[in-house]
Symmetry: C2
């Protein structure tokens, strides 16, 4: 009966994580607090370092990944392409400046503590990456995902991810062979160009030929199965080019956003998000080793502060530091604060490479937790101050 | 980038399997043929023994299991409890007689070929188990899931599973220690009683106290998350008692079927079924080693024939062999023909125990494929002959 038992255990993990997520969500909703925070807390509490009810395994990671993919796919679907074009340039300014500020402060801080230029470089780059998934989830929770300013934030976060993955490839080159190969740089640029070219072609093909036929599926759930497998395969496509699969899912959403069936897709895919996204959030909490908190807390706190300040400075740069736009600058900057999936993946790679030790890894986890907890609180404050106005042209 | 690559590969497997399932479903729908057959075919064609695009792994198995769980959960939700009580006794006759007839023919056949009493006993028991998942899927495809006769069939298939798992425990006892322990038998009976007792209590609790509050969730997707995690945890509960998790999911559905929110639950969980059930079907096809078909084909065919005849005889027994009820007997019997998950699980265990060799394993897979292909064809024929009449009292 070993087969049954092993399946039953994974079913147990999944069911337990969902049940506790729901419980805490219901409590927090009634207290008018963020569900995102609650679900990360579930992970911390039930995780291996506290109660130990949920021990992360590959299956849990897989559902978590499907959750992040679904979330980004929906974000793509809800993006207005015309708006995106208009917002593109200022979004680029926001992401570049926020990465730059973060890196410029992180490098000397880490170097001061460790005198290790490789570690300093690695962390300076990795901490630039905003967590698109968390940003989307939090904006969605406030019911603001479709506002122009939210869309600008999301596209900035996407650009962020692409730039950071780029920089990490260069950084790993420098760390491993002492210099960065211009070949690798061009290869990445070529891949990126290829990805955008293909996406553009597919958008044209969809808008011109396929879009009108998407209402004609006869198989049960045809439209949903089509859209979801499209998102998965686009995620794979991004993955083999070296980008994150969730970036691919976002672009798959962008493509389908241009079709008439977009509302139907969002409606039928939402249930899938409901049962997978909580796992993504719980999974972040699971990494938190509370036993290490004593040593990591100072470094983690300072790193969190830097990570927050870097993004806020980016927000001010993108709004040209005009005093009357202070709230908007704060909104842009603080929405870009969350760190999660990219930091987590590369922190793992850093451990494998022997660059990070447990202390630095835990410090990075503290950054994830702090920024995730802080963002909804700041956004709620800004929301009350009228930061999201629908007439806001980004 | 190893982490990204490994996730991307699983995303690829999932996306590809869904995309091809949809493609073949669309074609078969237009030809008015069964989607179930098509999706098993996708597995055979893309599987490791032919094209090799999809290689089964633990993640694929996991999605497949979630698919089977969701399917059975929905079947439970669609069950009418009052009807179930009325149908209970005749359903019991149908399952006991169909298991009995199958076993009685399988044992001498296998013994004749192998002179191996252990193997004969094992196969005689294992082949009794109807695949509830396939039966449900096929009845649902014909839009007949809610008819009284379909509900009788499903409850028979559930009883089947329970009895067969019971018998297998005894059979393994006999094979391993030469006799069966009365302790084990009582332990199993006790567990079964415990399971039913808890279920009855939970149904009462739900109907009396919880049911009315299920509309009050405030968290997004609250009702869905609640129901789905309930199904998963009930599956786990069945699993730790030694039954199949999908049996647990079916009973979870039965419990929630008695609440007012049942239609809302079905609506919100259906998308989940759409993107997981095809994987369950593709996964069956993946096992089919076409290279072994030459050797296994004769044994597999005869076994299939026995497996079919056994269930048909069960159908006639349940309708007391009255000639005017011939179509109904055929409907009952043929709906119980499909073999899949239980046979697959125990075939795996048989391989591990050294009871089965590759030849017998492949023969069992042939039984799965044949019965799966044949059932929709027979049911379609019977449907045309008016076998499903809604005034049919089971």
């Amino acid at each position: 009966m070993a087969a049954i038992a092993s399946i039953a255990y994974n079913v147990f993990l999944y069911g337990t994580a969902l049940a506790f997520s729901l419980l805490i969500s219901e409590i927090l909703r009634r207290l008018d607090q963020s569900e995102v925070i609650g679900q990360v807390l579930v992970g911390i509490m039930l995780g291996p370092y506290l109660i130990g009810l949920i021990k992360p395994n590959d299956f849990f990671n897989f559902i978590s990944e499907i959750g992040a993919l679904t979330l980004l796919f929906i974000a793509g679907l809800e993006t207005d392409f015309a708006l995106l074009r208009k917002a593109g340039r200022s979004a680029l300014v926001l992401s570049i400046s926020s990465i730059l500020f973060t890196s410029i402060i992180v490098y000397p801080f880490v170097y001061f503590l460790t005198s290790n230029p490789n570690l300093s470089l690695f962390l300076a780059v990795v901490l630039g990456a905003t967590s698109i998934s968390l940003t989307v989830r939090i904006l969605d929770e406030f019911g603001k995902l479709r506002t122009p300013i939210a869309q600008k934030i999301i596209i900035s976060a996407v650009i962020d991810d692409l730039i950071v993955i780029f920089l990490i490839v260069i950084a790993i080159d420098i760390i491993e062979i002492g210099s960065f190969s211009i070949n690798n740089l061009f290869l990445m640029l070529g891949k990126l160009l290829f990805f955008f070219m293909i996406t553009t072609i597919i958008i044209i093909v969809f808008v011109k030929w396929i879009g009108a036929h998407l209402q004609k599926f006869r198989a049960r759930g045809g439209l949903l199965i089509f859209s979801f497998s499209f998102a998965l395969l686009y995620g794979y496509f991004a993955g083999i080019l070296g980008f994150s699969p969730i970036i691919g899912a976002y672009f798959a959403g962008l493509v389908l956003a241009e079709t008439d069936v977009e509302p139907d897709i969002i409606e039928s895919i939402s249930p899938l998000a409901h049962v997978t996204v909580p796992i993504f959030l719980v999974n972040i909490g699971l990494r938190f080793n509370i036993l290490l908190i004593g040593d990591a807390i100072i470094i983690g706190s300072v790193l969190s502060l830097i990570a927050i300040v870097g993004k806020l400075l980016g927000g001010f740069t993108a709004t040209s530091f005009k005093s009357k736009e202070k709230i908007k600058a704060l909104l842009l900057g603080s929405s870009m604060m969350p760190r999660a999936e990219v930091v987590l993946i590369f922190a793992g790679i850093g451990l494998e490479m022997g660059l990070l030790d447990d202390l630095w890894f835990s410090s990075l986890v503290i950054v994830m937790i702090t920024t995730t907890f802080l963002t909804p609180i700041v956004l709620k404050y800004l929301l009350k101050r009228g930061a999201f106005k629908d007439d806001d042209v980004p």
